[in-house]
């Protein structure tokens, strides 16, 4: 794919670089600035088809403009009757044949890339992560590693990571525009896709299939780290002991409240596969709270006090006793100090 199309792309990228930089959206969110293999492949097809279509459009517009300039009824021509032309076989053949050729030019690479992006031959030798879509959060289980997390998906750069995705409720769609196109997360079957990030960074992910009131708040992130850092992160996550007592007194109280209110009924800390609610093992390192709020204790307290006002239709509302503001802030203090690893979103540049 990266032969002749790479050349076209290089030329095009140079010529519209300024435009792209100015108007292609937020870095690490936009699909127009690909930073992973899937997004790159899609971008090749986007550029190829756009180029061909713009040429077609220009042809149409040129003919159209000539028609409008030359063949408008002029004054004094009110009774002029133009020649009634039935058709023209040569012309009609031309504008049938050329589109067929254009469709072939686009169709062949389209088919090739479709098969390329669906290639699962390397899956067994690669990192496999079970992804579960839930209203309105994402669960990630690193197969064979006893590492479970949610919302922030850590992957190593420069290699294919296979995601085996299924939904626990309605259909969701996993989309990290800068890294890869999307794939639906269905309740009835496991869909597999691979993603590969070229560079370290924090990439925005979005749910792309209407899944209820808080569909637009079901954001997640992909944290691409170097392979060494990834191994480090896995090791750090594996060494988490959920029973560890926090240093801070408030956080200790928070831990007791967390247990007393049976928060662990849904939220695991550590590698328990339980996935009723988001796993909180590395909650203190998360880029966002509830997927989109700044990671501050105040926001977390607001969330614990009244999740419904923040994420309508979420499954946490009403599942636990009412908490006082003090209790909520103790729990927040406990959760915010869950930072098992030196490898964090900040260590790869943070979220911009």
């Amino acid at each position: 794919m990266n032969g002749w199309m790479g050349k076209i792309r290089a030329v095009l990228m140079l010529s519209i670089l300024s435009l792209v930089l100015a108007a292609c959206g937020k870095e690490n969110l936009t699909a127009l600035d690909p930073k992973g293999y899937g997004a790159d492949t899609s971008m090749d097809m986007i550029i190829l088809t756009t180029l061909i279509m713009v040429v077609v459009f220009l042809v149409v517009i040129i003919v159209y403009s000539i028609v409008l300039v030359r063949f408008r009824r002029k004054k004094g021509q009110e009774n002029y009757i133009p020649k009634q032309v039935e058709g023209n076989h040569t012309l009609e053949m031309v504008w049938t044949a050329i589109p067929i050729v254009l469709v072939l030019i686009m169709g062949v690479p389209a088919v090739m890339t479709v098969f390329d992006l669906a290639d699962e031959s390397e899956a067994s030798d690669s990192i496999n992560i079970e992804v579960t879509g839930n209203q309105y959060w994402w669960h990630f289980n690193y197969a064979g590693e006893e590492v479970v997390t949610s919302q922030d998906l850590y992957i190593p750069t420069g290699e294919k990571v296979y995601l085996n995705m299924q939904s626990s409720d309605v259909i969701h769609s996993f989309w990290v525009p800068s890294i890869s196109g999307k794939m639906d997360v269905n309740p009835e079957n496991v869909n597999t896709m691979y993603i590969e990030a070229y560079e370290e960074g924090v990439y925005w992910g979005k749910c792309a299939e209407l899944c209820g009131p808080s569909h637009s708040l079901m954001d997640f992130k992909v944290i691409a780290v170097s392979p060494e850092e990834f191994d480090q992160w896995i090791a750090d996550m594996q060494s988490v002991d959920p029973a560890d007592e926090p240093q801070d007194a408030v956080a200790q109280e928070g831990k007791e409240l967390f247990e007393a209110n049976n928060c662990m009924g849904c939220h695991a800390i550590g590698s328990s596969p339980s996935a009723v609610g988001p796993n909180l093992t590395n909650f203190g390192d998360r880029t966002k709270i509830a997927g989109f709020l700044e990671p501050t204790e105040e926001n977390l307290v607001d969330w614990i006090m009244d999740p419904e006002s923040i994420k309508p239709g979420n499954k946490m509302t009403g599942k636990y006793p009412n908490l006082s503001e003090d209790e909520a802030s103790s729990i927040a203090a406990y959760l915010m100090q869950l930072k098992p690893s030196e490898v964090t979103p900040e260590s790869v540049g943070g979220i911009n």
């Binding site: 936009t30 408008r72 259909i171 196109g181 269905n186």
Partner: protein
């Protein structure tokens, strides 16, 4: 009922006339009026959506209400605005174009209208009685549609089922009409393009709507009677809904766009003073588009995980539709080439259609490339694409048809100045609203997002889009003002105000109840034009003046529809309380009973006598 009685009738008499009419022209007018009403509702919903998205993290409406808005906007616009308005024009114009006195089944025509209308009313009643409107998107994907609380989705199911039955009847009616009721000499290959597209569209309706009916039926049983067709936990399969929906849904796009193609294929030759270039290839392109339209539904499902083989096949099939569509675009351009083009409101819409729709078609091909679609899918890119097709194609077509055929239907001509004003407002608003959305999608904004977050580079684009939407709203208001103004003070016109080409312009405006006093003899494509340039200037009759057999009006279609409507409400609420089953029984008994009465009672219609016809001035 003599044709000479044109004195003013009381309101009650007029109302009764419209409730019982089986005249294709009046039914056409009712389709258009009801469709326009739903178009305004859908437009208001669109504006509410755009106000919500005017700035990041806005809280103009709540998340749940937003999902209801997008669902109702899509459902209303597709099923209750665009489709019925086009069917209205087919009703009003197609019989005139083939030289027929009515459609083949006037009674069925009336029933079809009332079913559509009450389907739309039922759907919109969900706002008040449903505990909220449906909120699972106009596509109503399972299992979200199963999970949706309240009765919103139940109203969606029953409303669409009712109106779908009506649309299916309309389709069958048009097919039979075109096959059996063409005037002498009106061979298939002399039919105007609008009649051709009506014919092909009706065939699409005949094959596409049953898929929707089946899907809705399964959804109805899942929601109301405890079945589990789409419930994965009980062994169902949610993906089946998507297949059923899109096997209907993709042809539905062509059900909308083909009549618009037909409209432009009438207007462009009329105002270029040239016959349609490549008539035969236009007809075959129409068939090819219709055929391919059934072969590409899974391009709505590229990200579902159907696998690379399915995705590849559907990708290439989708791109192939560009070929017949391209043929059409170039044929329209070639029609104008060498012509003598008059630019008035109707032609403005047609001229604006060509580049606008070309953009929609181009992005369609781009979406067809499956590996690129992984990025476009379910983003604002798709929203932009289908609005370029549906607004830039279908709505422009509807506005063009309104300006073109209004004189024929009502005998008065729409005001040119207001027409041009509304055009420019709407045209500029349309491109402002939707062009930028291509980029919003690629910049990472999925569709159906209640809010977009701050500082994600999406603010400006959304603001521009909202401003454009308001311009479109203004343009629509000016069209309304124009119609009201014209109805009151518009200039009266003769039968052929545009010096046009096809048969409908050979009779007075508005046409008499029986359309043609004597059925015309058709001598070629563009029959009126042939007579004007090579003949006597008017159609040669194919028959002497004889008594005309007319069907009687009937209130039965209305009563049947009321029966089905009551039964639908019963179905919806029997989930809560069994008492509502009584409404089901009563409604079905009323509907079926009326059918029995209708079947057993002979109705021979009446005759307009030739003495009365002869007394009428030509």
């Amino acid at each position: 009922m003599s044709i000479a009685t044109t004195q003013k009738k009381g309101f009650g008499a007029v109302l009764w006339d419209y409730l019982t009419t089986v005249d294709h022209k009046k039914i056409g007018n009712m389709y258009i009026a009801a469709g326009a009403f739903f178009f305004l509702i859908g437009g208001l919903e669109a504006l509410i959506i755009r106000i919500q998205l005017i700035k990041p993290e806005n809280d103009f409406i709540s998340a749940g209400l937003y999902n209801e808005m997008i669902t109702m906007h899509g459902t209303t616009m597709i099923f209750f605005a665009a489709t019925p308005i086009l069917i209205g024009f087919m009703n009003a114009i197609m019989p005139l174009q083939i030289g027929a006195r009515d459609v083949a089944f006037p009674f069925l025509n009336s029933l079809g209208f009332w079913l559509f209308f009450f389907g739309g009313v039922l759907l919109n009643l969900s706002w008040i009685f449903g505990g909220g409107a449906p909120d699972a998107g106009w596509t109503s994907y399972a299992p979200l549609s199963l999970q949706s609380p309240g009765h919103g989705v139940d109203f969606y199911v029953m409303g669409l089922q009712l109106s779908g039955a009506g649309t299916l009847m309309g389709g069958i009616n048009f097919i039979v009409t075109i096959v059996t009721m063409r005037a002498p000499g009106m061979t298939y290959m002399r039919m105007p393009l609008f009649t051709w597209t009506t014919f092909v569209t009706s065939i699409l309706i005949l094959f596409a709507f049953p898929a929707l009916t089946v899907g809705l039926f399964l959804l109805m049983f899942d929601r109301m009677f405890g079945s589990a067709f789409f419930d994965v936990a009980l062994g169902g399969n949610a993906i089946i809904w998507q297949h059923l929906f899109w096997i209907f849904g993709h042809p539905e796009v062509y059900i909308l766009i083909l009549p618009a193609f037909g409209i432009f294929s009438e207007i462009i030759p009329a105002f270029s003073k040239k016959r349609l270039f490549g008539y035969t290839s236009m007809v075959f392109a129409t068939f090819l588009i219709a055929f391919l339209g059934f072969m590409v539904w899974a391009h709505h499902m590229f990200t579902v995980g159907l696998g690379p083989v399915a995705n590849a096949i559907f990708a290439v099939a989708t791109m192939a539709i560009a070929v017949p569509t391209g043929i059409k675009i170039f044929n329209w351009l070639a029609t104008m080439w060498g012509g003598s083009i008059t630019i008035n409101s109707a032609m403005l819409w047609a001229l604006a259609f060509i580049p606008s729709f070309t953009i929609g078609g181009m992005t369609g091909v781009m979406l067809g490339a499956a590996s690129a679609d992984y990025q476009y899918h379910d983003t604002y890119f798709v929203v932009a694409h289908f609005h370029y097709v549906i607004v830039g194609g279908v709505v422009f077509g509807i506005f063009a048809a309104t300006h073109y055929w209004y004189p024929k239907m009502f005998g008065r001509i729409l005001h040119e100045g207001l027409g041009k004003l509304s055009f420019w407002l709407f045209f500029i608003g349309f491109h402002l609203t939707f062009f930028i959305q291509h980029f919003l999608g690629l910049m990472g904004m999925p569709r159906r997002y209640w809010v977009f977050l701050e500082n994600q580079g999406l603010d400006t684009g959304n603001l521009i889009s909202t401003i454009g939407a308001f311009l479109m709203g203004l343009g629509t208001i000016v069209v309304l003002i124009n119609v009201v103004y014209t109805a009151v003070k518009g200039k009266k016109v003769s039968g052929d105000p545009w010096d046009a080409r096809t048969l409908e312009w050979a009779i007075p405006s508005p046409p008499p109840e029986y359309n043609f006093k004597q059925l015309p003899l058709v001598r070629g494509l563009d029959p009126l034009w042939i007579e004007k340039t090579e003949g006597k200037g008017k159609m040669t009759p194919a028959e002497p003046v004889v008594d005309i057999h007319m069907p009687n009006g009937s209130i039965y279609p209305f009563i049947m529809t009321i029966g089905f409507f009551i039964a639908s409400i019963g179905f919806i609420f029997q989930v809560d309380n069994n008492v509502w089953l009584l409404a089901v029984y009563f409604g079905m008994a009323l509907a079926l009973g009326t059918m029995v009465v209708r079947s057993l009672k002979d109705d021979h219609g009446y005759h307009i006598h030739k003495e009365d016809l002869e007394r009428e001035a030509d």
